[in-house]
Amino acid sequence: MKKILFGVYAAICIALLVWAFELAVNAPAEMMQGDAYRIIFYHVPSATVAFTFFAISMAGSIGYLVLREKNAAKALAWDAWAVSGAEVGIVFCTVVLVTGPLWGYRAWGIWWAWDARLTTTLLLWLIYVSYLLMRRFASGAQMRTSSAVLGIFGGIGVPIVYIANRIPGQHPGPVFGGDRASGMAPEILRPFLWNMAAWLFWGILVLILRHRFELKQQAIAAAEAEQSLNA
């Protein structure tokens, strides 16, 4: 039953992505940026999904730290969300960091600027890469605890990146909730929101897959530990 539900969800995701792509391709060209502005349809949703997943990773890290001494099994379940959120968040953040310069080159004439938004996003990405490296190369009981602390620091970085958008620099200000000039034409807003939904659905699909993988890995590690105790 679970497999069927997952299959249906995957099919919905693919249908949404196709529909969103169709809308993005047929959206009217922007007056100042021509066709290059269409990168917004995957750059901004990827950033939103990445930051959401980093927040999930932070919640998982907090849950692990709170429960690690009271309920080990529940703490491990939280830890699975923490590592899944961090890893899939990095994938989406990488998309942001690669598509951003491509768009920036067309809009500003330069690939990269050390302005607040770009620099804080790069730092956030580096924090989560170090989180995964710590999990990969450290071992023992302290590995999960140390990485959970790092995961919380990474999560704190998310609102900093959001606020950095309001500091004047090379990166444009917020499209929504910014000054009076902010906002989107309705013909562009509709495909933008569909793309936002499609990438969020896709992100959740990948997150579920990664979470299931982590649970399986934990189960195998527990079985191996039990086996070595019995031997």
Binding site: D35, L102, F213
Partner: protein, 92 residues
Amino acid sequence: MKKAVAQIAALVPIALLVFALYSLYAAPAEPPRDWRLHMTQEQHDLMVAPIDHAFRVAAYSVTWAIQLGYLAWLGLKWSGLKRVAGRASNQN
């Protein structure tokens, strides 16, 4: 069959990445600065449209290269994990 699917899953992101790089490489050059002074906005827009298109295609391809590349990597790790689990159950 499974091996063929895995190979395709690994090749698609690489092909997308190559396609993205090719789109950027094959994009026409920006019109020289002194030309722009003698062009109308419409002429300029027409000239830069293929460049904008190439960058958009490259960004979309690289997005999917990263996403599918990650999925392929996760799939590889998953099959490795299944092998480990299979060995452990055989030992029992």
